[in-house]
Symmetry: C3
């Protein structure tokens, strides 16, 4: 049974920490929750020390009280396991639980995400706590999901991890001979004769900070350590998940992810999760399209299934340099934006603002003033009413996309570990450039990994496809041969899965698909560029400029560089391959170029925008067998317009909308259900 | 007997380190000192290794020689105890004396301020050295003060300190239950079951550098560690002080403070000092008003009593990025500025420029050239003559101020540890903004702590009164009820002494005094702002903008924000409370606004400028029962004017000055004594 | 026998690492090498782990195969000893081989330059490997040089180094009394009673990062540690060199230096090398003149003898922020530039681009594509043909310079450790300013150390001659008395060899030579300056401005400051001293001032430019008893012209060139041999 199957409405609520408050406050909370339409609380996120005061003592009394209270108030529970921060006594008695940091320092007790993932103590007690909670609450019928730990993260370089890494390496490569080959250790005389000679790569060994990023002497070792660490932490997740499932086989288990979180390969993680949930905290300069991209990544990790918005702030964060207020209407707008991209919940961190420690100035449903008489609470209450009205009208619906963008954690690590050709190769940003162009055209986009089936898409875009793993080149070949459109560009096809260059000419195994050979690559700092023209318009050529030769590909309409000694060499190439086409862009240009180029590509591939909408108005859709729901979100500060192709029902307000042009107020949302 | 009671003139001289020189240089020193009017030397600042060559051996022979020499030359002595840097042999034999730094690293021998304040070795030997020095020099009648260590500072995070911290915490909170409450440890599952589980907060535990400042996960722990460390170092001071006083009960004991030195709570320290002394090294961009502010802080720490200017450079510093020369006349001007704000001494670091190590390019009375034939020596000689002429005409006089600005170390720590709402909340700078505005109006200002009696002031200004400790709110209430004027603003009244938020609405316990409720606060980076108008003039609203509601307060003349969704919401409010008035400024604006606003407030409160003076001319006063002395200091590069209200005697040159307008040359000083 | 004596042509080739490739690639390499005219390979640079798989096992089989292969292909070999990176097994079994870093952290296995220079393990095994290689290849006649380790570097602060430092200090100063004197330890009570109390100066003791550079509390200790560390690493070089020479007495032994590499005093190192070799990797903003300066430094270290260009990239580096391609012709141009400044080889890193680890995107003769069909390979092949044609026409020729610039590692360390007067005192840049002005005039320049014989020069320029060691002042005096021209300026003559100030007035022992006394020095940040005029032109006065007094010197034509209180004080002074003249420049100005001033000085000293050449065209010369060879290098992007004084033979193309004006294409090179 999937997590959202039985939901009668979008779960609404969030992280609730009554353990931080005297009990007389609890009743006030219940009153305000009812007033705001809150029906779901995430409990027990950080209570390990309270639940387990010593080695063999467990005490769930207070948690029982809280569970009873919210249950009596007819709320659903997302039950966390509390293992996101270990108890102080445990750190004191079992120092193996403490991490060794990137700089090589053994830590002391403090913070959160503080447990070494290879610590026997941590694993034993985390598993036991999950098991005891499951045992204790297995009959608690309003628990709709189990939430393991919290925002997993935190790399470790201790001896236990070093040994676990050696085992991981041994499992992967079997022989030390193959390790040496995979890591190219003949370079700099790094030959290992025994697995025991391998050390964790950090500032004490192969890595150091250089030009604002982590430099490694051996990409092979460092990328494998990233993989190992992601796996090691995932093992901790699985340990708790399995403990719960042994007792509650049909439990819906998740943990809250963080979208573009570099240390953890969420595409691998999501395979172990019953459903994806994540915490949406955009940065101050993130455009609506960037937020959308995070939602789409998270949905993609879960193979397109609806996900849970596990956390967002109702009003303000506290950890940014300058924490601006969410303007009136924005909390509502972004809540619906999450739904527009596949969320089946609207949850906040946090329900009541804490009074001490480092998150006390993070927004909450109930502010320090303690009443419901605040702008924020009123907005929350209004949204609560809307969500009650909407009910389950959209739950379970899925997004249909003709276009996919490829995003891959191994590539993220490999591109940003690369020594040369440019320190400005920021993988996520280069992907986001393409995503944002497509999002601005109001085209649904899936963000997929390297092992996703490509056949369901018309267009697959894989910018900076630096590392080509497994049979991806074959699958791209099949996709294009069968009529698909493939787009990639500079710094692609260079290496196989161990970051070893595929010799014989870039872009390696993609060379025949693209019909080109990249001979050299020029690199520019931010103050320099080349340029090229496309349809008579001049565009900048930045970061990298490939010097490439056409083989089977064509350079359409002289789209070559305009300057320097490679003047005239192609920038935009296209190659007919079977029934499809493969494009290559030899440089990084600007948004106006991408808009022009992608329009052409989409048009040629038969991909259409969902509808016309004025600037700042975002449009997405979700659907099921019977209906399509169109979300229209006006992120702008002015009234927008959009053109509906079919008539339908606006489900927030229950109003019929005819086909044709409609206005939408600033920050407003229309959700239009069109029956199939 | 207070330290300055018997002085016949302002002590003039400074740090003298003949131990760095062969003895034939000493006689040359004496000759030059006499020539320059030097009459006071600080001896023995860094001689521990020389005085105590091994565990039980002490050798004061060379110091005896030096004392004899300066005594024969009729100089007064400030006798330092030499414990500002421990001997190398001690570090080697007793590693407990070495600190563990913020990054968690055990240090080796080196530098100064290098002793762990909890080290048994350090404490034993420091106390013993002070005792032996006191014993040895108890009959030395020209010792006018004892100077413990030097520029105390240097935090430590070693196990001894960690244990001492646990004891300090235990003394403060008694039970571990109360510790958990004070630090809000239910957040992030930090519950402690035993004092032994507590660790020192540094980069290995709760803190890390973030956005250019120290971030802590638990403000409660970190602020208490600051308090503990300030106390622990103060204990070291007291240990030596008591050792001296046991032998010389009427010794005048001090140590040289450094004004706005964040690690040490000087308001607490000064209570243990017979008189305050401090080292004046302004930064390259410090205005004269900023220097004045440091003097006033130091005077305030000593409860208004005259202090000693223990160090200043005669010419140039060496530790700034670019060490510009003090222009001609500036050394004299700033020496008198110190006196204008309460100093009863003019002392330099250093008498003769050292030839090796890291201060050899710091200015000195006698330069490397070794003669008196330098610009700097000539200026020193001229000032020496003036000070002889002035004699004791100003010694012991005190400053009368109608206006006080509140400055509090706990607030400094708490505001800058705050996670949100803005990283630009620089406590000292926000206070200085107000001070500078007042100083520019030539109003005497006291800088006071939270426990100072407010009743003697007409106006009390407490910007960023974030943490309200003890009964301060009650005392403010009384002050205003009895006719006082109170001014505060954004980010005030939030927390009690443990940085726990006072619930029920900001500004907490100040809410009734101010008659407002602050619902939300918007935050801006440096490139954004809102604006408001005041008396028809438009001013910027920066850093933070409170969204506040009037309760009993009034928003005078529509002084509300001009932009964004909180357009029209009040910026400047005033509240009648008893016979007085309380003002609130909801944002940070610029100097022109503060000048306009503070003029209005001072006028309404009956506070007047000392006199009219043209721009760049600073005016202060000191007084005793019989006379008032007015200091007029022209910091500008052009001739200035000022208007004397009463006739008096200019005591540098002994000239009568009538009431009315007077001119003053650039960089010149007039000191006018007006009999009461 | 010197290394280049028997060469029949310029060695052409470089670092060859076939051990990274399967053997079937090797034959392809040989074919391509022949095609390109490659005749020299550097072998065995990083193979320690392969050569010595365990404590007592050595295996040279693969190296034998490689040696055989390249010998059969008639190539010369530069045989490296492989000790630039130790084996992983050795690090595991003998942790003493691992360094402790500047931050005080014991490192683990990783990277290169990773051995502690005081490690008994490292020394034993490095020496033994060198010995075994020499034994094994002593009859290999095509080994033209032995290459110890690789790019020596890497400071260590471990206990072994600390003890070695104590011994070094004891050897230098004999008594602890003299150590205390040399380091001025009476400052800050640092007196040492025993050598064992001395600790290595790093972040745990006397040093910390401050304002972007390393700060030390005791320059004496820190400079001595730099000297010790340079010596300690040099000892490692000597250990291997001696092991080889014991077996092959006439071996030509070198190691590849890196020009301006601050940690190692190459002037001292070169004395232990049979010939200097170095790796030329200019930074992205280095002008041709800066590259020339590095060549001249390297030639100067070797006392003017021809050196080897051991490494350069044929196309692109990979470790810079943005790795731009060398434009067409630039590889050839810079190869000839090396020869123009004294190189007798043209060698590349690397022959075949590696496929894994951190240098895989560094350019190579054979690219990842694996063929000779690339722009880069074609340019290499063309140059290969030219070098074959040139043959030995220039080998062994030396540079004659009338002008010398003094550069000294002790000064580099001391100036940049100085606490004050300005953080902008960048020693190398201040020297380069003068070099670049002279280079732009096409004057041959020698870069000399403080112990070089001055008598062969007409002009000696010693900017920032801060530390004057030994009898340098006497030798300058003799030089000037005998008619030489000496130029120096601000921050000169301050200290003796231990960084102790020479009292009695700056510039210390140079005061009589220069005829001035510097009383004070003003310091400016980048946003401020004073100014002065020279021949009626106004120039900026930056960084430092000395306030100086003329003694015997003259201030020619009122070249004084134009602003501030030292208006009118001299900037440019000249002093007749014996038959020569000594100039002093009291501030840092711009290139246009230096060009004007140096023109005057050269003219007055009878020094002439090699010839007229248009901007961007560099001219140098080398000569022997029978001929002079003039190198004309057009670094510009436009055609240049130059005026040949005598007729000669252009030896690349074998064409006669008459006296008079000639054109030279952009990036082109003319090498004209003129018989004497």
């Amino acid at each position: 049974m999937s997590w959202n199957e039985k939901l009668k409405k979008i779960p609404y609520g969030g992280d609730y920490n009554p353990e931080q408050w005297p009990e007389d406050v609890w009743e006030e909370d219940m009153k305000l929750f009812r007033q705001a339409g809150i029906d779901t609380v995430t409990l027990n996120v950080f209570s390990w020390a309270a639940l387990q005061p010593s080695e063999d003592e467990y005490n769930f009394d207070r948690l029982d009280k809280i569970v009873k209270l919210v249950t009596e108030n007819e709320m659903n529970i997302i039950m966390a396991t509390s293992t996101g921060a270990h108890p102080a006594w445990m750190a004191k008695r079992h120092p193996d639980i403490l991490r060794v940091d990137y700089k090589g320092r053994k830590r002391k007790f403090g913070g959160r995400h503080n447990s070494c993932p290879s610590s026997p103590t941590y694993k034993k007690y985390a598993q036991r706590l999950a098991m005891k909670l499951a045992e204790h609450y297995k009959h608690q019928r309003n628990i709709i999901a189990w939430h393991i730990s919290n925002e997993f993260g935190g790399e470790c370089y201790c001896e236990n991890c070093e040994n676990a890494f050696r085992n991981w390496v041994s499992d992967r490569y079997k022989t030390i001979y193959d390790v040496n080959k995979a890591w190219n250790t003949s370079f700099w005389g790094h030959t290992f004769y025994d697995f025991d000679e391998i050390v964790a790569p950090n500032e004490l060994s192969e890595e150091f900070e250089f030009m604002g990023r982590a430099h490694t002497d051996f990409q092979g070792i460092s990328i494998d350590y990233k993989r190992f660490m992601s796996d090691a932490i995932l093992d901790c997740y699985k340990l708790e998940r399995d403990a719960i499932k042994e007792i509650i086989p049909d439990a819906n288990v998740t943990t809250n992810l963080m979208a573009f979180f570099k240390p953890l390969d969420y595409q691998k993680w999501a395979k172990e999760m019953d459903f994806v949930s994540w915490d949406n905290y955009p940065g101050p300069s993130d455009s609506p399209a960037r937020i959308a991209m995070s939602h789409d990544l998270m949905r993609g990790c879960g193979d397109g299934a609806p996900f849970a918005l596990m956390e967002q702030t109702p009003s303000v964060t506290n950890w940014q340099p300058y924490n601006a207020l969410k303007r009136p209407g924005v909390m509502r707008l972004w809540s619906y934006q999450a739904m527009a991209h596949g969320a089946d919940s609207v949850l906040f961190f946090q329900m009541r603002r804490s009074i001490g420690a480092c998150e006390k100035y993070h927004g909450a449903v109930i502010d320090h003033v303690g009443t419901g008489n605040t702008r924020v609470f009123r907005e929350i209450t209004a949204l609560g009413k809307e969500l009650r009205d909407i009910g389950n009208a959209t739950i379970g619906m899925r997004t249909h996309s003709d276009v996919a963008i490829m995003f891959d954690w191994d590539n993220w690590w490999a591109v940003e570990y690369s020594a040369g050709p440019s320190k400005d190769l920021a993988y996520r940003e280069l992907i986001a450039d393409y995503y944002e162009s497509l999002r601005n055209m109001n085209v649904n986009v899936d963000i997929i990994g390297q092992d996703t089936d490509l056949s369901k898409y018309k267009v697959v875009i894989a910018p900076v496809l630096y590392m080509v793993k497994g049979d991806l080149d074959e699958r791209i070949k099949n996709f294009v041969e069968n009529g698909g459109t493939f787009v990639t560009g500079f710094f692609s096809g260079y290496v196989q899965e161990n970051d070893l260059v595929i010799t014989g000419g870039y872009p390696g195994k993609l060379r025949d698909i693209l019909g080109i050979w990249v001979e050299e690559t020029d690199s520019f700092g931010p103050d320099k560029c080349n340029s090229f023209s496309y349809h008579g318009q001049r565009y900048p050529a930045r970061i990298l400029c490939d010097l490439l030769h056409l083989e089977t590909a064509k350079m359409k309409d002289d789209y070559g560089y305009l300057e320097d000694f490679y003047h005239g060499m192609p920038v935009v190439t296209s190659n007919k391959f079977g029934r499809g086409k493969a494009y290559y862009i030899a440089t990084s240009s600007d948004e106006s170029f991408r808009a022009a180029f992608l329009s052409d590509v989409l048009a040629a591939s038969g991909v259409h925008s969902l509808m016309y909408a004025s600037e700042g108005v975002e449009v997405t859709s979700r659907e099921d067998d019977t209906a399509t729901v169109i979300y229209i979100l006006n992120h702008g500060d002015a009234e927008g317009i959009y053109e509906l192709h079919d008539e339908g029902m606006e489900i927030i307000n229950g109003i019929e909308f005819g086909a044709g042009m409609h206005k939408i107020a600033p920050k407003d949302v229309h959700i239009i259900k069109i029956m199939k």
